[in-house]
Symmetry: C2
């Protein structure tokens, strides 16, 4: 059996290598590749993807898993090897259901759709993107049908990003928190508004990068196993064990985008940096789901990075670095500024109180499109109506409205809800952390993040993708994913800031 | 037949993709990869190499070539398709002779040998490297034996870098030029020496890079299909059609290393940039041999970059850029400074008059080691003796002596002579270019390089690796590779400079 297990691990090691190679090619494409390389890079990536698919869906893999299952059933069910077989079975069964032609079709369609989306967005004209959106919805429907029977077609799509998570669960969670978030936002809108002019001074790029470097180092992002580079749209990426990079963009006239994205991406990267080497050449390597990943990035971005203790530590340093920009602005005022609540059209720049509403809107529309209760042609109208009812403002055009996010143009359906789920999980973890590290705030006030990171390493990162998200959250917090902690957090934090 | 041809091309396209992916991974490793990534990067590269070998030596490939050969024999023998089959046959027959275990053995040995060489060089102690050198010589001997019968074991190694080139030919060429170069160097040594202090002023890194950028753009290196990045040891690399990058290092206290290496690497990259897209996914993509590649890099570095017309164009700009450093130094004096002849221990920094002697020494030693007429244990002694007899100076230690170059530690035998052959070819081409573009000097004096690059594009680059090096040189110049033009060039140029 050991021989067979090693054979399976050998194959997964090869798949890891191909995945890492693709990650390097993608990273380079976003950072340094000259424009002339577009076509050949696309071909190289397609070849790597095709080979990975061939190797991963080879009958030999299915046979190995089948032979190993009885043996794995006798092992400690939480052991790496037992979980390896369980997770491999799931991955294999999903992968073999998708015909290679559909993979190729998706690649072709989304490459055209993405180009159309860019043009449509630039011209703020949904009609340019609409025919591609039709095809994308249709393709996702067909994709879901490969996995029949299902309770809901959307389950199939969601499951690709949140293993074992059900649409019904997500809807229930969102239904509970939505009225509470809407209520909070209405109360805030009726209060005295926060002055955030300090954020719109001129912050030179170099000085921002130095600050980000200092902060990321302090929270525990390891630059010996990473680096930060400039891109159009920030992301983090795992290029192989020991190499987790983050990227950035800088707005010199707005303080927030660089530093909070840096904290966010460092949070993702630190998750991957925390996964043990023993898992690094198997299917258990990498974060277990997008929501759990997002729980890490949002924890560092918001629960740490937008907290009062954090700025008690860093605001004096910030004042030293940017004396003119911060002149006459107290810590309290700065803290309120970076936490200003204000409904806006841009999801990625949304504050903590409104963010989830952006997600719920998208989830409902995705489900409606799949079910056929929303037509692709009426998307702008539906988007704007629902946006207004949730956030109290109405997009002026398609660019501000349904063309805002890139995801659909890449064919990604079922992805958005993981962002909101991640927010919720970050608070479930945070309440547990506060129990386990009672003096956490005083650590953060001194710029000490070691205990926090160690906790995350041990409770979350160490498992790689051994445990599915609901199971992992249950193991750590005793509860399944839910929004109670998040609502408690929002009410307390913004109650204090807005004196509600 | 068309179907079979397409099938073969499809496979070669896949191999191109894998090669391009490896090039990206290697480039990243030398430029930006954090130290933590070493191990996983090594594994990813090994996997890509293994897959390429598996695909390239698959029996299916041999069968396709066999089936296509009769058809190819009826095509125009100079057509892309006919040459594709001929070159594929050669590549396949070579590749299948090498057992995968030997490829793995070589990878393992050279990775250890390279580490030992670094330590040995640092400590200037050959004994640290000697046991690995023993194994490397033995491995190369065994490798050569896979290709028995041969005229000379060294033929097999040389053929990997210079297709169809024979050891006897190289020895004959070198035997003719050696006494002439030695004589010239002796005459120069007896003349008034050149004052090159201008080169040892402080030249700030940023200003050097800007200069290099300006010059590389002017000669025709296309930054839309390339870029330059900082590394320890400069190189150029092809990351896929439309993406040929160069790299640099800067010595702020010595003018030469940056700019001449930039011209050199741009020369390599422009060769690859000039190969037509129609060849870009086949075995005919890429330069045809190392010597032909070197003819391009040395042409731009030396025949253009160390020429008087070139500095008639650029020296006024240089004076503007570096007014203090060049103060009181005339164009004539600057031109002499960058062409100063002085025997030294470092091959890569050698002047045009002494360079080839560094190579001949290495070639003779490689042949001696393979034949057994030189023992690995006596390498330092043999190196120093021969160095002194060729160049008139004797290395003080192993670091200056036989540990100077990295090549042997990578297992590369048969590689060095291509550097000298490239020098010779560059002059054979240059004499032809001067015939075809009679007013070339006046173009260069105006900073116009378009006609020169077009000539190289048409005569050399356009063919990719369709024609083997000797054949290509014969087609262009009417002669096989020889040193006559090079000796004429050296005598004229350095005769003028040193008033011989």
């Amino acid at each position: 059996m050991e021989e067979k297990l090693n054979e399976l691990k050998e194959i997964q090691g090869t798949l890891t290598d191909l995945g890492n190679a693709s990650a390097v090619l993608n990273w380079d494409q976003e950072t340094y590749m000259p424009p002339g390389g577009v076509e050949s890079r696309g071909r190289a990536l397609a070849t790597l993807a095709r080979m990975a698919q061939e190797i991963g869906t080879d009958e030999k893999v299915g046979k190995l898993i089948e032979e190993l299952e009885p043996w794995a059933a006798e092992q400690d069910p939480d052991s790496d090897d037992a979980r390896l077989i369980v997770v491999s079975r799931r991955g294999y069964d999903k992968a073999v259901k998708v015909p290679p032609e559909m993979v190729a079709e998706r690649a072709m369609l989304t490459s055209q759709a993405n180009a159309a989306w860019r043009e449509a967005r630039e011209k703020s004209d949904y009609s340019i993107f609409e025919p591609f959106m039709e095809k994308i919805v249709e393709l996702n429907q067909r994709y879901a049908d490969l996995f029949k029977p299902y309770d809901h077609a959307y389950d199939v799509l969601l499951d690709d990003y949140e293993p074992m998570m059900k649409t019904e669960d997500v809807k229930k969670i969102f239904a509970e928190i939505r009225p509470k978030q809407v209520e909070l936002i209405e109360k805030i809108a009726a209060s005295d508004q926060v002055d955030d002019r300090v954020l719109y001074k001129f912050y030179p790029e170099d000085a921002q990068i130095e600050m980000g470097d200092e902060i990321c180092r302090a929270i525990g992002y390891d630059f010996k196993r990473g680096r930060q580079d400039k891109v159009h749209h920030p992301f983090s990426t795992n290029l192989g064990y020991g190499d987790q990079r983050i990227t950035y963009r800088v707005d010199e006239n707005f303080f927030n985008p660089y530093i909070f994205a840096a904290l966010h991406e460092a949070g993702h990267a630190m998750y991957e940096q925390g996964i043990p080497k023993s898992l690094s050449r198997s299917i258990l390597y990498g974060g277990t789901s997008l929501a759990i990943h997002e729980s890490q990035s949002r924890l560092w971005e918001n629960l740490v990075g937008r907290s009062q203790p954090f700025w008690e530590w860093y605001y004096p340093k910030l004042q030293q670095r940017f004396p003119e920009q911060t002149e006459g602005v107290s810590l309290e005022e700065f803290y309120k500024a970076i936490n200003k609540v204000e409904p806006s059209f841009i999801r990625v720049e949304a504050d903590e109180a409104t963010y989830n509403l952006h997600i719920m809107l998208r989830l409902e529309i995705e489900i409606g499109l799949l079910e056929g209760s929303i037509q692709v042609s009426e998307l702008p109208q539906v988007w704007n109506d629902r946006f207004e009812s949730y956030l109290g403002i109405r997009p002026k055009n398609d660019a501000e409205g349904c063309l805002q996010d890139v995801h659909w143009s890449f064919g990604l359906f079922g992805y958005f809800s993981t962002y909101a789920l991640g927010n919720l999980v970050s608070l479930q973890l945070w309440e547990k952390i506060k129990e386990d590290i009672p003096n956490l705030d005083s650590h953060i006030r001194k710029g000490e993040f070691g205990q926090l990171l160690t906790w995350l390493n041990e409770k979350v990162h160490a498992h790689g993708s051994k445990f599915y998200p609901q199971d992992l959250v249950q193991r750590i917090t005793g509860e399944k994913i839910n929004g109670d902690a998040y609502i408690r957090y929002l009410n307390k934090k913004f109650g204090d800031i807005y004196g509600l």
